[in-house]
């Protein structure tokens, strides 16, 4: 390989890279949009770090935060991991936001334990850190937690399922999130508690990552293993809709009860359509809005939010059961997210 006659090509390289940089700069100029305010504006800055950019739950959470930030006249900075579980990405986001001078950070931890040291560093610099949706381990690692009570969310659909089965012997399948993720574990345990069942009563348990296609595969495999399944707990509605598709293919959609947690708009519509019997609805908008408000309060008078704030959960169904409090899908669709 000859290296000497490469002067022209290197000039091309320099020119190309220069234009690359120029293009990139234009891109970020246009990308910053109206919510990006110059650093010297003196506005209070609030950071929101979600697990991913793409999950509708977090998109809605961001929307809630943006609305609240606009109302309170503060600047919202957002960041997210590249995938669910991307701790390093969240650590980097925390560091960059602290460097940018945020007053408080709202974070949905991808890894409840692994994020703790990075949060401690931010807190040491006087930044208020509030966990949204998912608690840290230990919970005291953050100043405050604004979240759904996931155990209760599970219990609600467990109690509902118990009433709806009307004493029929249950063969249970659980379509779970992923091992070791607290949200999934709490909902699963809550469901069993509400239903009055134990782990050994579960005929088939599969991880879905909360994904519709994986939910379908999981349900297909569960039916293969245990054709008599008549009650399906799902971590969220995408998994539930996957399960519904699998059941429908076997002509079983009428005689299997599907219950879920989340309360997204697509999911709530599926409850209305009768595909899912009931779901526990949670409120990401509220989590984010209250989080922003807490940072604003801290910026104004130095008062730090603390402890756990339950942002509420409501059982949504059109087939109400006596003895189990619920609201109908009209209410659900009015308050859904996504």
């Amino acid at each position: 390989m000859s290296r000497t006659p490469r002067l022209p090509s290197s000039l091309i390289r320099v020119a190309a890279c220069t234009s690359v940089a120029a293009l990139a700069l234009t891109a970020c100029g246009s990308g910053s949009g109206s919510d990006s305010v110059g650093a010297g504006s003196g506005k209070v800055k609030v950071g929101l770090i979600t697990k991913t950019d793409t999950n509708p739950f977090f998109v809605k959470m961001k929307e809630g935060a943006e609305k609240a930030a606009k109302k309170d006249g503060v600047q919202l900075m957002t960041a997210a991991g590249k995938f669910d579980g991307d701790n390093a990405g969240q650590v980097t986001a925390i560091e960059n936001m602290v460097a940018a001078g945020v007053k408080g950070i709202l974070i949905t931890p991808s890894d409840s334990k692994a994020i703790v040291p990075a949060i401690a560093k931010a807190k040491a610099k006087g930044v208020l850190v509030i966990a949204l949706d998912t608690p840290t381990e230990p919970e005291s690692a953050v100043d405050a937690l604004f979240a759904t009570d996931n155990l209760k969310a599970g219990e609600l659909i467990g109690e509902y399922a118990k009433a709806a089965m009307k004493g029929k012997a249950a063969k249970i399948a659980t379509l779970d999130l992923a091992p070791g993720v607290s949200v999934g574990v709490q909902r699963h345990n809550g469901f069993l508690k509400g239903f009055g069942a134990a782990e050994k009563d579960v005929a088939c348990a599969q991880d879905t990552g909360g994904d519709q296609a994986k939910g379908q595969t999981a349900m297909e495999n569960c039916l293969q293993k245990e054709p008599g399944i008549n009650l399906v707990y799902t971590i969220n509605e995408p998994a539930a809709l996957g399960a519904y598709t699998a059941l429908k293919a076997k002509g079983r959609e009428k005689d299997v009860l599907i219950v879920s947690v989340d309360g997204g708009c697509t999911g709530t519509q599926a409850v209305k359509d009768g595909k899912i019997a009931a779901t526990s609805q949670q409120y990401p908008l509220k989590m984010a809005a209250e989080g922003v408000n807490a940072v604003v309060t801290y910026a104004k008078d130095g008062k730090k939010a603390s402890g756990y704030t339950d942002t509420g959960v409501t059982l949504i169904t059109d087939k109400a059961q006596t003895g189990v409090a619920s609201k109908d899908t009209a209410f659900g669709l009015e308050n859904c997210w996504g």
Binding site: M1, S2, R3, T4, P5, R6, L7, S9, S10, L11, I12, R13, V14, A16, C17, T18, S19, V20, A21, A22, L23, A24, L25, A27, C28, G31, S32, D35, S36, V37, A39, D53, Q75, L76, M77, T78, A79, A80, K82, F83, G85, D86, N87, A88, V91, T92, A93, E95, N96, A99, A100, S110, D111, S112, K113, A114, V116, A118, P179, G180
Partner: protein, 337 residues
């Protein structure tokens, strides 16, 4: 573009590497373009935000890129041989869990646990190299398989649990020392030292020239008396050892052993290599270029965050940069022909 096309007028097949003048070498260096891009980005962010142009922020950027940077050194070596390594992030994650668990929950002294982690990662590299060279299998397939093997082993061995309460020596590299008004982490120094060491090894040792020759044409390299088989296996093993160092840096940075770590680091390291001007077709590039590539990504991520731009735009910009970098590589290859 093979080594056999070298003009026979010089005594050594590699003599032309030394021939150009310093000025010309600077201009023709494949790192010049990326360096200009990096400097332009720095100027832009320095103008756009108050917080960018501070020692503390630069120290932060280096800390943020040291793990992927160290992986990217190994990735550069492998890509220079016209190979690719998709398993680097997963191997690192496994190494980090081995180190963390052995030291925190096993009864191994921290230094021994670190040594074990290095050996494990080096072992993965060795197996990769053997499969690529001895069977032989395409590097893409071997390392794709190894990605899954290492990923699964990480999750099996960790039982999906994050390892906390690490003994001090494991996080020592994450500690800082003051330099002027800026706090620097020891890990940043280790990363920079590794870049310099490998840059020297590639540019100024026989081993380094053999790596370039191998990447240009394995057959020509073999005919020139280079022991290509041993060299390939060696490169993959050295890369594996570097992933072991990255594992230690990762632990020291986050303070925990995290089984979910590194899932996109294979692609991130390839991104850095490509942005640094190293050719994916082998035989051309440098680890210093990779260092610049790593910094480009780190500077954009940091700078855009300081400006308040949402993270999805980082992904967008990185994607555009990669495509342009490869385009430039292709064009300059055609010209060089």
């Amino acid at each position: 573009m093979t080594a056999t096309s070298t003009p026979p007028s010089t005594s050594s097949p590699y003599a032309e590497l030394k021939a150009p003048t310093t000025a010309r070498r600077l201009l023709t260096a494949p790192t010049t373009g990326p360096l200009v891009a990096l400097l332009l980005a720095c100027v832009f962010f320095a103008v756009s935000t108050d917080q960018f142009l501070t020692g503390g922020n630069f120290s932060l950027i280096v800390q943020q890129v040291m793990v992927v940077g160290t992986l990217a050194i190994g990735q550069t070596l492998i890509i220079l041989t016209a190979g690719i390594d998709l398993s680097c992030g997963a191997v690192m994650a496994f190494g980090s869990i081995v180190i963390a668990k052995m030291a925190a929950e096993g009864s191994l002294p921290p230094l021994l646990a670190i040594a074990l982690g290095l050996v494990v990662c080096g072992g993965f590299g060795l197996v990769n190299g053997l499969l690529v060279q001895k069977i032989p299998l395409p590097p893409f397939i071997v390392t794709l398989g190894m990605l899954n093997v290492a990923f699964a082993l990480t999750h099996i061995y960790s039982e999906e649990q994050t390892v906390t309460n690490l003994p001090g020596p494991l996080t020592a590299l994450g500690q800082t020392f003051p330099m002027g008004h800026t706090d620097i982490t020891y890990g940043s120094l280790v990363t920079i030292a590794l870049f310099l060491l490998l840059a020297y090894a590639l540019s100024s040792t026989g081993w380094g020239r053999h790596v370039y020759a191998l990447g240009n044409s394995q057959e020509a390299a073999r005919l020139n008396g280079i022991r290509t088989s041993r060299l390939t296996i060696g490169v993959y093993t050295v890369a594996g050892l570097l992933y072991g160092v990255a594992a230690l840096l990762l632990i020291s940075r986050t303070g925990v052993g995290d089984p979910q770590a590194g899932q996109t680091d294979n692609l991130d390291s390839i991104t850095a290599v490509v942005l640094g001007g190293t050719s994916l077709f082998g035989g051309r590039g440098s680890v210093l270029g990779t260092f610049i590539g790593v910094l480009i990504v780190g500077v954009f991520r940091n700078g855009l965050q300081l400006m308040g731009v949402a993270s999805i735009y980082q992904t967008l910009i990185t994607g555009v940069l990669v495509i342009l970098a490869v385009t430039v590589d292709q064009i300059s290859r055609k010209k060089a022909r």
